[in-house]
Symmetry: C2
């Protein structure tokens, strides 16, 4: 095995040309004659040559790396166990790859609070995709103000000086609630923490639907986890009995936690209680009864997130954008 790492200059020597020529050839620069280009590219492939990214990043001041950070509230367990967020990260990765960009997976532990410094000044990444607004947008705002090219997955209706891509949470919350009401529910419970930006919007949609139907709203504010939902619903049933006949859950995981609590008490879904979630994670389809939900189009959102980030890197000013949602009717809310 040829252990010696080849450099541009070695390749140049082998081909009898200058390093400039090789460099240009490998970057497909039309300054170099097509024939020469192809010859050099073949040579590079043959010798298993690959450019030293450190050197080229230093020289070009570009990394072709995008940092993705899952923006967690310190006090929630949602985090790394939420299938929805992880799926989103996976799809962002694919979207980045299509543009030849790489994904640096980050978190607040590494980046602490000064994102400008950590990501941009240090030239770790060219830009930043923040997944989740969390409860506080201070960090994001500071980074955006300091000139970090960034886009955020969150609620696009939030007032902000940075572009946010996300679903129409208000509409989703309203549609789901309306559906429950239309099918006879009188007391729809909102299950989730409205302090969270995206969930707050869903809650607003819920409120509007409820008040339009002249029903009374009812919130159970919990952490965004299935366990919290399970415990919360259990407790509520113990305390007040079955005081609702519909649940608009702020996420599928939360809905599934609620579902378990209901099933354990032989409360029929959807007959006694209609249940609708949000996200359309793969478990929604596989639960029993299958879970009605508002599907967020993560694939499309990922593509848009990346496009907007690239536009920003190209110096354009970009705006927030809503990604269409879809109501998926399954068994839990017939």
């Amino acid at each position: 095995m040829n252990d010696k790492k080849l450099k541009l200059v070695d390749l140049a020597k082998l081909a009898g040309v200058s390093t400039s020529t090789v460099s240009r050839a490998l970057n497909d620069n039309p300054l170099i004659k097509l024939e020469t280009r192809q010859k050099l590219q073949r040579l590079a492939k043959k010798h298993n040559f690959s450019l030293n990214t450190a050197a080229s990043r230093l020289r070009t001041q570009k990394t072709n790396v995008i940092a993705v950070m899952i923006n967690l509230d310190g006090d929630t367990e949602q985090s790394i166990n939420d299938p929805f967020l992880l799926k989103l990260v996976g799809e962002i990765n694919l979207a980045l790859n299509k543009h030849g960009l790489e994904l640096l997976l980050s978190n607040s532990f590494m980046a602490s609070d000064d994102w400008v410094n950590y990501f941009i000044n240090s030239r770790r990444a060219d830009g930043l995709i923040v997944v989740g607004q969390g409860k506080s947008q201070a960090n994001i705002e500071a980074a955006a103000n300091a000139g970090v090219p960034l886009v955020v997955w969150g609620d696009p209706k939030t007032e902000s000086n940075y572009p946010i891509v996300g679903s129409d949470n208000y509409l989703g919350g309203r549609l789901a609630t309306e559906r429950l009401l239309e099918h006879g529910a009188k007391n729809v419970l909102f299950l989730g923490d409205p302090a969270h930006a995206e969930i707050g919007e869903r809650y607003r949609g819920y409120l509007d639907a409820v008040s339009k139907a002249k029903a009374t709203p009812n919130v159970l504010s919990i952490d965004i986890t299935s366990k919290a939902a399970y415990q919360g619903i259990n407790q509520l049933l113990v305390d007040k009995g079955l005081c609702f006949d519909g649940i608009m859950a702020c996420s599928d995981m939360v809905a599934l936690g609620a579902m378990k609590a209901l099933k354990e008490r032989y409360i029929s879904i959807p007959n006694d209680v209609g249940l609708i979630g949000f996200d359309d994670i793969s478990m929604a389809d596989i639960s029993h009864p299958s879970l009605s939900t508002i599907k967020q189009n993560t694939q499309r959102a990922s593509i848009i997130l990346v496009e907007k980030l690239l536009a920003q890197l190209a110096g354009q000013k970009v705006n927030s954008q809503v990604v269409e949602i879809e109501m998926i009717n399954r068994q839990s809310s017939k």
Copy 2:
């Protein structure tokens, strides 16, 4: 806002010392007087200075980046939607962070087949963590032979020239099957594709348990997804009726897919059919009935994976290692 990116030399000028001194001070090199070091570190913080990683990587030939790649079989849907793999990635990230390392999320799309070149020669990363052995280990073997520092999450009993960290899949498969048999099952079905390395081991454990009980084995080979499991079990029930009274599923997602199929036909779990999964994803606890499973200790595995990789980077020869599993008894297999 101070837009001009500070360099080492600027900071040096500000402090009235040489760049060497600043560089050493920021790296906490004891050659520099403690007092000077602290002064310079304060100065750096005050001016929001941070080192250009591209430059320092070029100079030191180290990146402090580890590439993590989810090794998918092209023909399976398991991939990015499998909560277990994603959770593992999340925990590997945390484990890396503790050592000051960053995670580059990669996949076969970017890295194609020549991992040496893509990751190491190009100095994108110092080492590689491969999540999943897949059905073919050719790529991994080639990379290991070519000297890529790498560790693999998979079945540690597989013969290999690279270290594998993973659960005792044989034992897990055996324990779960034994439990089903002990509780009266006569016909335990193995649900999963034994061609997959880890699953093959679980299958061996299953086989041994079954033959020890003088029962007859029965496999339904399917893709590692809940959907495939749902369809597979449905089809089997249509074709042959309820020809089993226990299912050893190769993963929790698969088990949950099977669970849905059973519940839809009012087949009682665990009375008619006992069901045990593998992984202990968060849904296992929240399903109804809750899913008995073999818990894989991903957190510990992640820590070990990183330690082994670091040892390898330090030039040590490291071996495969088994991470303990735990049988979690829940309702689905009483």
